[in-house]
Symmetry: C2
Subunit: 389 residues, 2 copies
């Protein structure tokens, strides 16, 4: 099953297959396939099913990679948006967790329609939202699993106390079409802490908050089938807690400058291939600004030398160098993202590299707001489903 | 002339025409058409042709807006990339300046092919690059104008001295297919300086550097037909200098949190429509993170109240509020970008708003690396041109 728009985009890049990096037009997103495979194996071996890995696809937005993760033993996938989930379900994935609240008519409708073709679970923190999801589930004759999101320290989404969780859980129990499956709490506020002991302490505090809610809900008779948490920065810390049933790590597949010192078990498997567009005695300028690479939290670096950028402008990445630094106008060089999910959100496709050549082109789906072509596709499919009734 | 891929994307949103903001799926990029028109008129009246305005399309990437700017008297358009220029030329624009070096075979080939259908000028700072552009121009039987880029204080691209400029100018004179038309120097290092006097002093210093190069080249007998500089932050400062022939301002069309205090003559004409996805006593969370809005330099703000965000995550925009702040889960609210060109780079289309409803859907072209669908299109067109020879 393909989306016409996406295959048109992929087709535009297909002539690159078989080329080496010197023959590609830049900026181009290079995926190092052996290293992606290795990172997937490393994570699978590290968790080994206890807790389960439910990899977050927000970091790659790519069906091919999600399938590799499932083949390596993942329990299903986690998504940030309903559009990512809709896409993955229509590519054959089953058992999907949307690790955020889904709010708004078209999004909730998409969630319910997707629940007809795949097992869906979604985060909730508000009874009004849950009622709307329940109504949509009934309309679609589907069941939707829900996790109560608990704010474990980000001051973002989620209930703030065990009391709030208990009140919400009781009300959820009366809503047809929904099934309370457990809780989730993302300790993202620990993710940038480089000191492992400090990170472990902070993540431990966060999980205490989450497990206090678990205990309160269990005391009320609710079965906590799912307790979901964790990311690439905390997979081995949070994952060591026996009460956590699922880890949501995603960026370990690719890695970036921000996470490299925090999760050293994984290797850089995603780079942006750039061209030197200007060179003076003390400066190298690449054709890769914020419109082509994620420079969040940390600035990008050269892959080979590790040299950090001085600045990242809209269309330019700047490096301070000595006059004898061996880069000239026209040279190609690979750059590591500051933060890989933002890089992925910008590019149309991966150039999948194996043995130094482009082995394949893989589309990046549901970029940005993410619902344009998908909306059209789902509308058509929905009509198909209506006909089947 | 349309690109199939782009029209497919636009078609996916066309059902939104006639809807009010409460019936749109979020995040959606709203373009306030009366305000865009007003901003275009304000800039046209301010410069009034002395110097000429050559608006930068990197801020909107939209043919419809470029045409409005030309109709209001702009001399042509400025682009950041060869792909933006290729698109604008194929939409009927003529007299285009690419205000950056174009490096790499496919890009230079695209530049030369585009020069066959529209007058093209490009920035250069390196003789080797100029030689390649010259060779491509000869192959395409086209002439390409060049401006010597001068580094006026950004430590980015451009020659660093009048001597370097003179050496480059002499060599350029012997390259067939190229025509040296003048110089450009972008004073971007002044653009974020909020104090107008300090900004004026810094921009003045930058223009001194640029004009020193102009004088040296004129003394060598080169005609300086074009002296291009300026942006939204300096259009009225740099624009007051009689030796500057062209101003490259772009973001004035839309504005953002970063430029609002710096260019108060213009009004916010671009917002991201968001939905409240979570609400606690002290926090409002919107469905609009860095994957949907530019949060560079300054964090986004609510349009109506001006409330600045506390943080911008990947999928969430967070606001600290009092418990009685009137926003509930499901409410719609418009947000002003921190930096508008990054927002534009993420979205597929503009929802063009007039009288409170969606009047039209306009595509945003050459987003991100920008060459996927365009590559295919140009390849097809190139074959057409070859047939005509």
């Amino acid at each position: 099953m393909t989306l016409d728009t996406f295959s048109t985009v992929v087709d535009a890049y297909r002539a690159d297959i078989g080329r080496t990096r010197n023959d590609l037009t830049t900026p181009a997103l290079l995926l190092d396939l052996p290293r992606v495979r290795k990172n997937i194996q490393t994570m699978a071996a590290s968790l080994n099913g206890a807790p389960h890995l439910r990899p977050h696809v927000k970091s790659h937005k790519c069906v091919q990679i999600a399938k590799m993760q499932i083949e390596a033993g993942a329990a299903g996938v986690t998504t940030a948006t309903v559009w990512e989930a809709a896409m993955m379900a229509r590519a054959g994935m089953d058992d999907l967790l949307i690790a955020n609240e889904v709010v708004g008519d078209e999004k909730i409708h998409c969630l319910a329609e997707t629940a007809r073709i795949a097992r869906m679970t979604v985060a909730v923190d508000h009874i009004g939202n849950a009622e709307t999801v329940s109504a949509a589930a009934q309309l679609a004759k589907a069941e939707i699993g829900v996790l109560i999101e608990v704010d474990v320290g980000m001051n973002r989404c989620g209930v703030r106390s065990a009391e709030e969780a208990r009140t919400l859980a009781k009300k959820l129990g009366s809503l047809p079409g929904l099934r309370l499956r457990g809780v989730m709490g993302y300790e993202g506020h620990c993710a940038l802490e480089v000191n492992r002991d400090v990170r472990a302490a902070k993540a431990g505090e966060a999980m205490k908050k989450l497990l206090a809610v678990v205990e309160a809900l269990e005391a009320d008779g609710f079965e906590m089938q799912v307790v979901s948490a964790g990311g690439t920065s905390t997979y081995d810390l949070t994952g060591a807690n026996r009460r956590i049933t699922e880890i949501q790590a995603g960026s370990y597949v690719f890695m970036d400058v921000t996470r490299l010192p925090i999760a050293p078990a994984f290797e850089i498997a995603l780079t942006v291939l750039c061209t030197v567009v200007s060179r003076t005695a003390d400066t190298v300028v690449l054709d890769c600004g914020k419109k082509a690479i994620g420079a969040d939290f940390m600035l990008p670096r050269l892959k080979e030398s590790g040299l950090p950028a001085r600045a990242c402008a809209e269309e330019h990445l700047l490096f301070d160098v000595d006059s004898n630094y061996p880069l000239e106008v026209g040279d190609r060089v690979e750059v590591v993202s500051g933060y890989c999910p933002i890089t992925v959100n910008i590019h149309e496709v991966y150039h999948v590299m194996e043995d130094g050549v482009v082995a394949d082109i893989w589309p990046i789906l549901t970029r940005g707001p993410g619902f344009g072509p998908l909306r059209r596709f789902i509308r058509n499919q929905r009509n198909g489903l209506v006909t089947q009734r």
